[in-house]
């Protein structure tokens, strides 16, 4: 069973003469361990597609299943719960909570899910150490570099061990070297833990970390090709996971 399956989904903004079809009959299956890079020009529908796959926007037509469940009739509260436990998010501008430290930011999804503060912070600390941010636990976002912020965002996205991580232009505010390092870290971590990653980006260099590269134009998926990610994932101990 696919982690996410979208079948013939459409999204129309506005109505009548002003209606705009942002997504036009897109079908997509996301399997465990997939690292999908969705590329396309501005206005092609990338962000609309990832918003719908992330349950932040309802499609006008078609169906999306997440973990085998049709989400079209789900209430807002159920969708929020689904996002909390099954999906992780990364954003172009990091979107960390400015008042919280790196550790607290990474612990937020855990606390939302009901874990009390102490174990949540402990788990966040472990995650950040794994992402080489063990020295920056108490730093506020304003004192972190772009790369560090995005690594905190990775930790936050991974905190509840979601099945899928959705990343929207995650390298847009990073220099190329840092962007590549962060995405390598995300994809390797996700891959080694059997999680899927969907990345929406203009950055063609991300093909190096993707297993599948999908092109979207005018709301349609026009091409799919394999990415350059190694077929096997590194394990937590440095070996290769088959």
């Amino acid at each position: 069973m696919s982690i996410i399956e979208a079948k013939n989904i459409t999204k129309i903004f506005g109505s009548g003469h002003t209606a705009v079809k942002a997504i036009n009959g897109v079908s997509l299956k996301v399997e465990a361990g997939d690292i999908i890079l969705i590329m396309g020009p501005s206005g092609s529908g990338k962000t609309t597609l990832i918003s719908m796959l992330g349950t932040l926007m309802r499609p006008t037509g078609g169906t999306i299943w997440i973990g085998g469940e049709d989400i079209s009739e789900m209430s807002g509260a159920k969708l929020a719960n689904l996002r909390l436990h099954h999906l992780g998010f990364m954003f172009q501008s990091f979107n960390l909570l400015s008042a919280l430290t790196a550790q607290q930011n990474a612990a937020v999804p855990l606390m939302i899910a009901g874990l009390s503060k102490k174990p949540a912070l402990k788990k966040a600390e472990e995650l950040l150490e794994k992402l080489q941010l063990g020295e920056r636990l108490d730093s506020l976002p304003k004192n972190l570099s772009g790369g560090e912020k995005q690594r905190v965002a990775v930790a936050r996205a991974l905190a509840n061990q979601p099945a899928v991580i959705l990343a929207d232009e995650p390298t847009a505010n990073l220099d190329s070297k840092t962007g590549h390092e962060v995405m390598q870290l995300l994809c390797n971590t996700a891959c080694s833990e059997g999680r899927a990653v969907i990345i929406v980006s203009h950055d063609a260099r991300l093909k190096d970390v993707a297993k599948r590269v999908i092109t979207i134009e005018d709301g349609r998926l026009t091409k799919e090709e394999p990415g350059n990610h190694e077929p096997n994932c590194p394990t937590e101990h440095g070996g290769q996971k088959q």
Binding site: S51, R83, L87, F89, V108
Partner: protein, 370 residues
């Protein structure tokens, strides 16, 4: 999600200070006014409570000591004393007078006739000087003396008679005027009550029903009314209740509106500034209930910190201002604290409404926009 609420609140310390300060101001306003109301209400009745009496007897139509005059013939004393259940009856004479001091200060006194033989018309307590007045002597209240710069041995010209101040009493200040005590013969010159008095104070025998005694007095003495001490105190403090309560109510509403507006505006500003962060929280799976909880907790923290600060200030004022402004008689009690605490919670809850509405409208998909 207490952590997010606290960190958000403390991130902008100036705003938090304004919020807490605004609530504290409201709390001080509400508590001091309530305390003054209670204090003045208590003060108005303090002297009457000190007079040993179970019942007060007066001319029919008179309710208190200060408005409608009461004049009763002195021979009613024996008639009342003959009734069932009466242990003792004593006349009580007094009247309000106004005069100027030597330094042109307006003074309002309620002169009580001190009867040395019957031991009536004594001050509640003495602060300094003599505790009973002799001929041409007067005892005035300490607070009035302080306000009007009257000192022991000063001479006061009251209604054409000269009095020497020989003592300062406690517990006789009733805000707009105060009780003063002069010898019966001197007081009668001022009061002009030949063979009459204003009231009779009655003490009952043990196990006598006060209501039955009141009925007996009314039935046997036409044109006479009688009330319990509690009722008489209440009648005499009615002025404070009637004039003060509407003012308190208006200022209470103003205080509540100010407090609610200050918390509401500061939390709303904070929410608007962080609206994207609330969108992120929605996107990563925080429920509406949890989001609203963050806002309510912020409002509660600001409100309760303001309550604690305001209460401390109000108690501080209560403890110190009275030394400089004697009319500042504040009595804040536990019940007042409790309802002001409840009011603070209500203010914080009400103040959360607009910020919550704003958060409810946030589209989490907006967070994907750069």
């Amino acid at each position: 999600m207490f952590l997010i609420a606290v960190r958000n609140l403390f991130q902008e310390k100036t705003r938090l200070l304004i919020s807490v300060g605004g609530v504290a101001f409201s709390i001080v306003l509400i508590m001091v006014l309530t305390g003054l109301y209670r204090g003045w209400n208590d003060k108005m009745g303090q002297y009457i409570r000190s007079v040993p009496a179970d019942l007060w007897v007066m001319q029919d139509g008179t309710e208190d000591m200060f408005h409608t005059p009461s004049v009763l013939p002195l021979d009613y004393e024996s008639k009342i004393a003959d009734l069932d259940g009466i242990a003792s009856v004593k006349p009580f004479s007094g009247r309000r007078v106004a005069f100027h001091t030597a330094n042109q200060q307006d003074v309002g006194l309620y002169i009580v006739a001190y009867d040395a033989e019957r031991q009536t018309g004594l001050p509640a307590a003495i602060a300094t000087g003599q505790n009973v007045p002799q001929a041409s002597e007067i005892i005035v209240d300490r607070i009035t003396a302080k306000n009007k710069n009257i000192k022991i041995n000063d001479s006061l010209d009251i209604a054409g008679q000269k009095f020497k101040v020989v003592g300062l009493s406690e517990g006789g200040d009733v805000v707009t005027f105060s009780f003063a005590f002069a010898a019966k013969e001197d007081a009668e010159q001022i009061l002009r009550l030949p063979n009459s008095t204003n009231f009779f104070t009655v003490q009952l025998k043990n196990n006598t029903d006060p209501n039955q005694a009141i009925s007996n007095i009314k039935n046997n003495l036409p044109g006479v009314d009688a009330v319990t001490k509690k009722q008489f105190v209440s009648n005499n403090t009615k002025l404070i209740r009637e004039s003060f309560l509407p003012v308190i109510l208006v200022l209470l509403i103003i205080g509540t509106v100010v407090g609610t507006a200050v918390i509401g505006l500061t939390i709303f500003t904070s929410v608007v500034e962080k609206i994207r962060e609330y969108g992120v929280l929605k996107a990563i799976g925080m429920s509406h209930r949890q989001l609203y909880g963050v806002v309510i907790k912020q409002a509660m923290i600001a409100g309760l910190t303001g309550f604690a600060t305001g209460s401390l200030i109000a108690f501080g004022l209560q403890a110190t201002v009275g030394d400089f402004v004697p009319q500042f008689v504040s009595q804040i009690n536990a019940l007042d604290m409790l309802w002001v605490f409840g009011l603070t919670l209500a203010m914080a809850t009400l103040a959360s409404y607009m910020p919550i509405r704003r958060i409810a409208d946030v589209d989490p998909a907006e967070v994907f926009k750069a």
